[in-house]
């Protein structure tokens, strides 16, 4: 559980759950996130879960650090049950037009493209967190033979809906954005739907993701 609570500036709590990145620590963070949300502590304006930290922002006109720290520490979650995340299937087209860094990965990982995709598509991934840009999911963990470092020079524009890999993680660029992850394909699905006014995120922390491959024809026919 929480190892330490300190302040992040004068209007946020910095809750530290440890330094490692693994599912167990992250599930603690997510459980805590869900329970704090339910608790309706007055003055909380935002809660940001990540791999192993949780940041709670608050309105200084309503509360302050000491008050909210005590309230958070006094919450007793023992009997709370964590909702299981959803299983979401994401189609990916790996045509050369979309797999911008597959050649780089073949060299870097010393694997044929077919092997890279076989290993990538055969695993299910866990969503640790979403953010940076709206709706971007941080997923893991990859088969360890697919661990690759970021591009030496990040792209100024990664196309929207690109699937990227780096270290033990993969993600989906929900918007065109600068970025340095190795791009292996593209999904026709909108992961962040900015027309949806209630739950614009398709993937949320705690969800499980499985990717499946589609042809360029399917990509274009279904969604073009």
């Amino acid at each position: 559980m929480i190892k330490n609570i300190s302040n992040l500036g004068d209007a946020a709590l910095y809750c530290d759950f440890g330094n490692d990145v693994n599912r167990e620590i992250n599930l603690n963070v997510i459980q805590f996130f869900k329970n704090i949300k339910k608790s309706n502590i007055p003055g909380i304006t935002n809660i940001t879960p990540s791999y192993n930290k949780l940041i709670i922002s608050f309105d200084l006109n309503i509360t302050n650090f000491d008050k909210i720290k005590t309230e958070v520490e006094q919450l007793n979650f023992k009997n709370e049950i964590v909702n299981e995340g959803n299983l979401i299937k994401i189609p990916v087209c790996c045509d050369n037009d979309f797999a911008l860094d597959i050649k780089r990965l073949e060299k870097l990982l010393n694997l044929e493209k077919e092997e890279i995709y076989k290993k990538f598509f055969s695993k299910k991934y866990y969503c640790y967190m979403t953010g940076f840009i709206a709706g971007m999911p941080f997923l893991g963990d990859l088969n360890d033979s697919l661990y690759a470092r970021r591009l030496d020079t990040p792209r100024v524009k990664v196309p929207k809906n690109s699937i990227g890999l780096t270290e033990q993680f993969c993600n989906i660029y929900t918007f065109e954005s600068p970025g340095g992850w190795n791009i292996i394909g593209k999904t026709p699905l909108d992961i962040f739907d900015n027309k949806n006014n209630t739950s614009p995120n398709l993937i949320n922390p705690g969800d499980t993701i499985s990717f499946f491959q589609i042809s360029k024809l399917e990509f274009e026919k279904k969604y073009g």
Binding site: S6, N7, L8, G9, D10, A11, A12, Y14, D16, N19, V21, F33, T45, N46, I47, T48, P49, S50, Y51, N52, K53, L54, I55, S57, L60, N61, N64, F65, M129, T130, G131, F132, I133, A134, G135, M136, F138, T174, F175, F192, N194, N197, P200, N201, N204, P205
Partner: protein, 315 residues
Amino acid sequence: MAENYFEVLRPGINTTFQDNGRKNYYHIGIPFSGAMDNRNFVIANAISNNKKNNPVIEFALQGPKLRYKGDKVYFNVTGDVNFQILRKNKIEEGVCYQNLVLENNDCLDLISTNRSVYGYLSINASFKIDFYLDSYSVNTKAEIGANNGKILQKNQIIKIENITKKYSLNKLDYINSKIENIRVIKGPHFDYFSKTAKDLFFKEKFRITKLTDRMGIRLDGPKIENIKYTNIKSEGLVKGTIQITADGDPIVMLSDHGTIGGYPKIGVVISADYDKLVQIPPGSKVKFKEINLKDAETIYKLYEMETQNLISKTK
């Protein structure tokens, strides 16, 4: 008249609709957004007799030029803004912090902000704009909020409704004070930096570069040497967080910031200094001053009291 609207003759550099932002969406990657300089935002609404959270037009450095069509409407401009009203036969110099009138075919030219960044235009009426996830605030990165999440475009129309007919001579004598010292509370990774670097951070001046917008400020100055890890496992950020990049340069997160980041946090700007920090134009220099949490809380209370006092003086 059937319809009341502004026609955008010149959109300005970065003109957006803003209210006080959206809460509770950090976890899906959506930051607060909202008016950058909250004090000038609330004063603008107070002078207009609007609700506290009414959306306004925020502009940066160069503002928009708008032609007004419709029934007489009152408006006011806050910030430190150089503007003109082009009427039928004369040009009138604008005065900030007071209700002024626009008649059919008048042009409002929000020429520029003076030695500051943001200005606000509020009307005694409502803009006909869309609401998304509890707010009108435009977030251009996620393409959400009013105006389809976009900055103002040349030739677009901004519809206006609910015009208040009654005129009230609300005004305020107020001069935006400038600051050079930005007060900072040490961040969770303060000890990732060398003794020399920590001293430099609070001793030297940093220049606000042109790579500055609603998302953040990139600073230029002495390199802040990291002696531990230049990258951390990505974690949440808040407005005012100062991260040190792998190159040793500070970046300050502002209202439209990415919600998570992987650079160590050396400190966080105190809430009371945020409105003034965002108003410092590129090219200026700032100095960071260390302060503890208790003092920051007290200073914020005083700052908020001062804002409330200014609001009461508008009536």
